[in-house]
Point group: C2
Amino acid sequence: MSNSDAARAASIGLAVSTVIFALRDADGAPRATPPSAGGQGTDAPATVWLPLVRRIREPQCGRWALPGGMVELDESLEGAARRNLAETTELQPTYLEQLYAFGDVDRSPDRRLVSVVYWALVRPDEAEQVTLGENVQWFPADDLPELAFDHNLIVDYALWRLRTKMEYSAIAHAFLGDEFTLAELRGVYEAVLQKPLDPANFRRQMESSGAIEATGGVVTGGRHRPPKLYRYTGDVQLVDAGPLTPRIPA
Amino acid sequence: MSNSDAARAASIGLAVSTVIFALRDADGAPRATPPSAGGQGTDAPATVWLPLVRRIREPQCGRWALPGGMVELDESLEGAARRNLAETTELQPTYLEQLYAFGDVDRSPDRRLVSVVYWALVRPDEAEQVTLGENVQWFPADDLPELAFDHNLIVDYALWRLRTKMEYSAIAHAFLGDEFTLAELRGVYEAVLQKPLDPANFRRQMESSGAIEATGGVVTGGRHRPPKLYRYTGDVQLVDAGPLTPRIPA
DNA sequence: CTCCGTTCAGGTCACCGTGACCATAACTCG
DNA sequence: CGAGTTATGGTCACGGTGACCTGAACGGAG
């Protein structure tokens, strides 16, 4: 039982990391703040971006990595994720969900480390609050440099989950403010799924889903017919947000 | 930073547990071994069962719990799950996938414990190999006693995942042998989804999916037209079996 | 003030997957 | 040989979807 003895002597480290997704213009500029409230509304296509942190200590010092840190004794896993997000990027994400626990023996060259990884969606106005600097930068999710540890694999998996889940769950509104136009909502889908959607068919599906309702307001200022504003009703469950979420009554 | 000091002094324990699902007759009898090979083929409706282990030490001594144990320094998370399964139930499951990491601060009364939970599907002939005894018993998944720790919540979540995934992924064959009839495959769906399915429509869907192919063999002996035997082609990906699974090429 | 370009909004239509259902085939047993 | 049972194949109505068309409502150019 030398294994057990070794496990007691040098324990396995437990960390959390988070893949944070936000939509930004293809050139890297942040989206117009609350897209509808701002004004003319950006019509440039958006893409998926995420903030990374440069490692300032060994191992893998200098490489870009996901924000994260060790789990303290008196905090839950999600609590640790939220604390680390607040400390490194000052973000309080709209949407936060556990992604996967990564625990291969050799994933960290130093100490044995198991990382419980979360993924988060933030609104453009939240994303702007990220304090940029030498050690915090935004990167396009589809074109990342070589990251520290197994973080490239992690981001790829999170991106796959985002795109898969976008097709069957109502998570798109986590990228938007409380009120939004159908064009903005469609823009989120197009950015994540990377394909154009028919505006008329998109409208029909959203309306029949019961997930959104008109607020009564419209957005004026555009050189075209003023679009109505919508909000999420909350009637539609976010699917599979974890074991603590009450299930949809069958 | 007293928290950091405390974390270093008494580290967080890392454990794995597994929810093992198998199909058995409603009265608890195991299904006919490899259902088709056996003989007449059981026609009694099957239900979902899982094996539990009685705790033989504090805390929660005497209560039923999921099989599991601590992760050793030199094994991966999935490796630890497989080792614990082999040690406690002698099972080598056909299907094994990570479910969720449970890490609430108060989930274990003793030491701070984070459990990475897996879920597994086993064939009836594998399930029979489980050495039953005072401390290992099968329980119907929908009618469990009060389990140790948060294991009731965990089983409920695993059951929800099983039922959800059954509807969009081809995992049903993990409950069967290499060859099976469409009636047997349909029986798996009916047992998990808890609703009858139309045999003709079920056949049409399975055939058009491309997931199965006829082996050429038939099962004789029944007092009716002999059903054809099928096998899985492997063409259809098991969806979302973890980050290491190659994605379906878009 | 009118025309024009734009997007919003509402509608039609063919097609396909689905569930409900019917009919025949092929076996065993009495 | 007929009865009973399941396997297998087919039809049909319906609902959701994608492709596409038409009018509505604005700002801006002339």
